[in-house]
């Protein structure tokens, strides 16, 4: 089929054809992350936690932001990954970190697939409650099976091997942890980016925008959702596994509602369905809570709560949504609507 000039010149066709291309500013977060490593060597523990939160938020964005799967139980998969690595290491079955991540991803992905088969028959509030219940079940299982999971105390002093057999994890100087997590985050981010710009990712957006229409264009909606949910779960599992490896311990906090709610707040704050919302949201959340808790040690969550209320009321797209609106307004002013030819 030949491309007529009308079609290739059309702004919509051009925009769609190039939207997946890397733009210069997309290198910025990674350069900043590297700069952080050299500029703040004493804050690398904080930095590692931040990077893990970003990865977790990105995994949630895939399910919630792109496919519109409303979930309040994403920590189930974070926990599944963390406990996989923790139990394998504690019982001296598997202590190599990178392959450990792969195992954790497989286990969390399998949990996502199995629960998704059942949960994704539902939508809305029912789905929300069921994801919450799934997480609760896992948390209670981890609590009860104290012989293997350490129960309420969790598992500590996990013997994780050095990365590539060279770089040791040192809990006091988490230089290795920071760079290791950054590397894994980069790989996962590139993967998710590829996914959301693919036709598969486009169809997920379609399901979010109008599920009924997706059925009517012949899309196998439930299968798509299950695949997306499993991939999202696997990535959340990697985030959890990184957390366990970096801290050399795992406890029930990885499976709790606290963690699931935090990552949701992060994503809402940054802007969901926008790929970079997780990054911006995690930075905003971690930095805000860091400074707010210093300034108001007892009531710092109030400030965060007020901010969330403001976002929910006035800026549904989160911080990135605000940025989008501003740039659009700026562009409109610079180049008024071209008069019809």
């Amino acid at each position: 089929m030949s491309v007529t000039p009308i079609q290739s010149d059309n702004p919509a066709a051009r925009a769609l054809a190039v939207r997946h291309r890397f733009r210069w500013w997309e290198a910025l977060p990674w350069l900043l992350a590297l700069a952080f490593y050299f500029a703040f060597p004493r804050y690398l523990g904080f930095g590692t936690e931040l990077l893990i939160t970003i990865l977790f938020a990105i995994s949630l964005d895939l399910a919630l932001g792109y496919a519109g799967i409303v979930t309040l139980g994403h920590a189930a998969f974070f926990g599944a990954g963390a406990y996989t690595v923790g139990m394998l290491a504690k019982h001296e079955i598997w202590t190599e970190p990178i392959s450990g991540l792969v195992i954790a991803a497989a286990v969390a992905g399998a949990v996502g697939f199995a629960s998704g088969l059942v949960l994704l028959r539902t939508t809305g509030l029912t789905l929300l409650m069921l994801t919450l219940c799934t997480m609760g079940l896992l948390e209670e299982t981890a609590n009860m099976a104290a012989d293997v999971t350490g129960g309420f105390d969790g598992l500590d002093s996990l013997p994780i091997k050095a990365v590539f057999g060279i770089f040791e994890f040192n809990p006091l100087y988490p230089n290795t942890q920071y760079l290791y997590v950054l590397g894994v985050l980069l790989v996962c981010f590139v993967f998710v980016r590829m996914l959301v710009y693919s036709p598969f990712g486009h169809s997920l957006t379609g399901i979010r925008e109008n599920t009924m229409r997706m059925h009517a264009v012949g899309a196998p909606v439930r299968m798509r959702l299950i695949v997306c949910y499993s991939i999202s779960a696997a990535i959340a599992g990697i985030a959890g596994a990184l957390w366990a490896q970096a801290n050399a311990y795992v406890n029930l906090s990885v499976l709790g509602l606290d963690r699931a709610a935090t990552v949701l707040i992060v994503l809402v704050l940054g802007g969901y369905g926008r790929l970079y919302g997780g990054i911006i949201g995690a930075i905003a959340y971690m930095v805000l809570s860091h400074f707010l808790s210093k300034a108001y040690p007892t009531a710092w969550q109030l400030g965060l709560g007020l901010l969330l209320v403001a976002i929910a009321l006035f800026a549904r797209g989160g911080i990135l949504g605000i940025v989008d609106n501003l740039t659009r307004r700026f562009k409109d002013r610079k180049a008024p609507e071209p008069s019809s030819p």
């Binding site: 089929m1 066709a13 925009a15 997946h20 036709p199 598969f200 264009v217 899309a219």
Partner: protein
Amino acid sequence: MTALLETRSLSKSFGALRATSNVTFTLEEGARHALIGPNGAGKTTFINLLTGVLAPSTGEVLFKGQDITQVEQAERVKLGIARTFQINRLFRGLSVLENVYMAIAERVGAAPNMVTPAGSRRDVIDEAMELLTRLKLADIAHKTIPELPYGRQRLVELAITLGLKPQALLLDEPAAGVPSAESHIILDAIDALPKSIGVLIIDHDMDLVFRFAKKITVLVRGAVFAEGTPKEIGANPEVRAVYLGQAAHG
């Protein structure tokens, strides 16, 4: 002519309400067939039964002689049955082009691809742009749905369905709510459909129905009340009493 889409003694009950009652119906290849009836006659329910949104209580649906009563909605689309909705069901946050891309990507099997960017499927984009050009939507292909007037949104509704290249096309009030100044674009688009596909149209607009249809089925309280050419239907005193008369009052 051969039968494309058929129903045999099709019934659907919602509790005590019999929305579709013992309907035996044939849409032929290349047909221009209209389904009319007063409000609540069960026209949309019938479309939902044909497309697999609803499962019938009793009876069968056949496509090219094959029983598809148990076939899922998405599978029926793959067979070649597509519909538009009475109330727009569009991907509101996406551009017009992206809306149509969605349908074509599903039809050509591009949608499961996770690896290559959507934008690199130039064949899908080109086909979508061609379709939009045909429907005079090319110049607004970059706009999102809420930015469009209602008439244009109706056209996008049609464009998505045409992107599926159906053999049996079911149009549920395609011009409803469109200002008459714009409705001719929709009528022209329907007129320009390939002759080979079978089209079933539901509409209240009698001018549209009589201009378009070669055959009319009248549905009243879920059952087939009359069937025939526009001439026969127009001259049928019972139909006039039940339906056309009412419409004249309305």
